[in-house]
Symmetry: C2
Subunit: 359 residues, 2 copies
């Protein structure tokens, strides 16, 4: 009896192993959306090779992080997993490793909504493996797998059970033409979302069902003209200039006109949003921080009026009042948005973007 029980246990264990055996598919064979440089030789980059050594190293390195990119595929699998290699094991004390180096999966519903399935959490090593979901219904669904916000991807494979199908998406959603191209800082890059899908750019992408290209560079949204050139290559539906937390008033005075002009010359009619510095929660208490932000916002407003006065009817000013709510709770460290802050930011920005976005 005991022997029979042991054999039965072994059999069940083998069945479980067989069920968990996934067959992995190189992700770059599927559509990767949100690429800031669609014609780059490497898929997982946000800056063109031509800028290597030309822009500051910090900017270049952040340009290799995969913020805002996602793999689109369809599958009738009952289980989905991923294997991926990051370029390094980057950690921050105010952001989860899952947001920094992990991935998360969304599934398209019949009503056109993208719904969170689950996340793939990284370990402490470069190479990671994670089963994302099990016991799916076995029907074909459209999926979107968001890539890490603050790390590079050296390789990525998507696993489904052997014998089940996985392939390129059948539905062209989110729409890739006329994307929103969002330039900015660590916050734009997704600091500090708990998982990639909760960065504001990714939330807005799902809500609009339109690709949002993420050109946020942590600590480096310093109006580099080279980034404006990358943006100008896109036939965008809308540009967002959201870099104030990384700029001093002096820097704005020195660099914003050139940056803006690169976009405007290439695209005379494309809407450009100039976004104020968020009202960071500690400004309620820290009078110096408050003054500094007010001054920068006034400098931005000055240029907005100047661009308008010069006849630009497609440049718009976005106040930050209420952008992350009014209860002071939207950040982890007084600056970087949490999922709560990003949700509020998306609630705030989506209707503004919709109002101006070109089809």
């Amino acid at each position: 009896m005991k022997r029979l029980f042991m054999l039965l246990s072994l059999f069940l264990a083998l069945c479980a192993t067989a069920m968990a055996q996934l067959h992995y598919h190189e992700a770059t064979q599927f559509k990767v959306i949100g690429r800031p440089v669609p014609d780059a030789s490497r898929v997982y980059t946000r800056l063109p090779d031509s800028l290597k050594g030309k822009v500051r190293d910090a900017l270049w390195n952040l340009g290799q992080n995969t913020a805002g990119m996602a793999v689109r595929f369809c599958s009738n699998a009952r289980q989905i997993g991923v294997r991926w290699k990051n370029h390094s094991v980057f950690n921050m004390n105010h952001m989860t490793a899952t947001g920094v180096r992990g991935l998360d999966l969304y599934c398209l519903q019949d009503d056109g909504q993208w719904v969170f399935v689950n996340s793939a959490r990284p370990g402490g090593r470069l190479a990671n493996k994670s089963k994302i979901i099990d016991n799916l219904d076995g029907r074909e669904h459209e999926y979107m797998l968001y890539l890490p916000l603050y790390e590079d991807i050296d390789s990525l494979e998507i696993g489904v059970e052997e014998g089940t199908g996985i392939g390129n998406p059948r539905m062209a959603l989110p729409v890739e033409s006329k994307p929103v191209v969002w330039y900015g800082t660590s916050i734009t890059q997704g600091g500090c979302a708990s998982r990639p899908g909760m960065a504001a750019t990714n939330i807005v992408e799902r809500r609009l069902n339109r690709v949002v290209v993420n050109l946020g560079f942590s600590g480096n949204g310093k109006l580099d003209p080279e980034v404006a050139e990358v943006m100008a290559k896109h036939d965008a539906g809308l540009y967002i200039m959201d870099m104030l937390p990384n700029c001093t008033s002096d820097l704005i005075n020195e660099k914003i006109e050139r940056f803006y002009t690169i976009l405007r010359k290439a695209h005379p009619d494309t809407p450009i949003l100039l976004v104020e510095n968020p009202i960071f929660p500690p400004t309620r208490f820290d009078s110096e921080m408050r003054k500094e932000i007010e001054e920068k916002n006034a400098t931005l407003a000055k240029f907005y009026k100047k661009f308008r006065a010069a006849g630009d009817k497609n440049v718009f000013f976005v106040s930050s009042a209420g952008m992350i709510g009014t209860d002071n709770e939207g950040t982890v460290d007084g600056i970087h948005f949490t999922d709560l802050g990003f949700e509020r930011c998306a609630d705030y920005m989506t209707p503004i973007i919709k109002r101006y976005l070109k089809e």
Copy 2:
């Protein structure tokens, strides 16, 4: 001229150093609220010494984490900082180090609302130091400093500039009598809030201005009767039994009556809420996970009806439908709440708690 400039720079640097020089005060001399064992010899513990070696090690160790505790003080400082030592350097891949091992500060406003000031982020070592806020108005304010959710505190000091006052609070808020005593799992303990103040128990505490005692034990909300004994020592305004994610139906069947009876015998009329397992987002896709949760919730409902049928008019059943919203976005990993999930959970639970809470 160059020499004058250097001297001036040196002078300014010295001024800055002097400004940044904080004088530190041992935190236990101030009021520490949310202590599950108010008469324990050590301040920063959630279980009585008598349980050491008696309860499972995992439970005991989690009982040393400071979830739900806060230091209350008042000060007219213009700068506030902290120095603290954690017991170990615990990291998780789905929670920020600031939530696990850090602290955050709230300030009481004239309208009775607690408002987030800023957080104290830990480094990679046991000993940490962080300036939380600068350029305050120099008037006396009431502060609440939340302690780490998933680590122990070996020592904690609060720093203010020399010559400014710091002392025990002048206002007895949050009210300590008739606290809410909330028993549960990793989620109750605060996984995965971005910072301590965003755990549901702490949000609800601020909204009610009533102390909420946190007895969440990650992976260990397994209906240990010893924890019920700790809860029963409180003259609570309300008890919450919110342990289902750590229980199987078998475990509920085996242990819930004893746990409940310990509370009920000690406090015949105190409201007890029985909370369903949250509808974890992946249940929308994972049929097995969905079935398991439905089964556990049915088991809980069975006991609710039994307690009611036995004449208990102060036991209540809390459905989890809509507890963290309906858009599937409230978690980092399909289970643990983010700040967004906790905010929604607090929105959901606060009116329910208010309805039943005894004064």
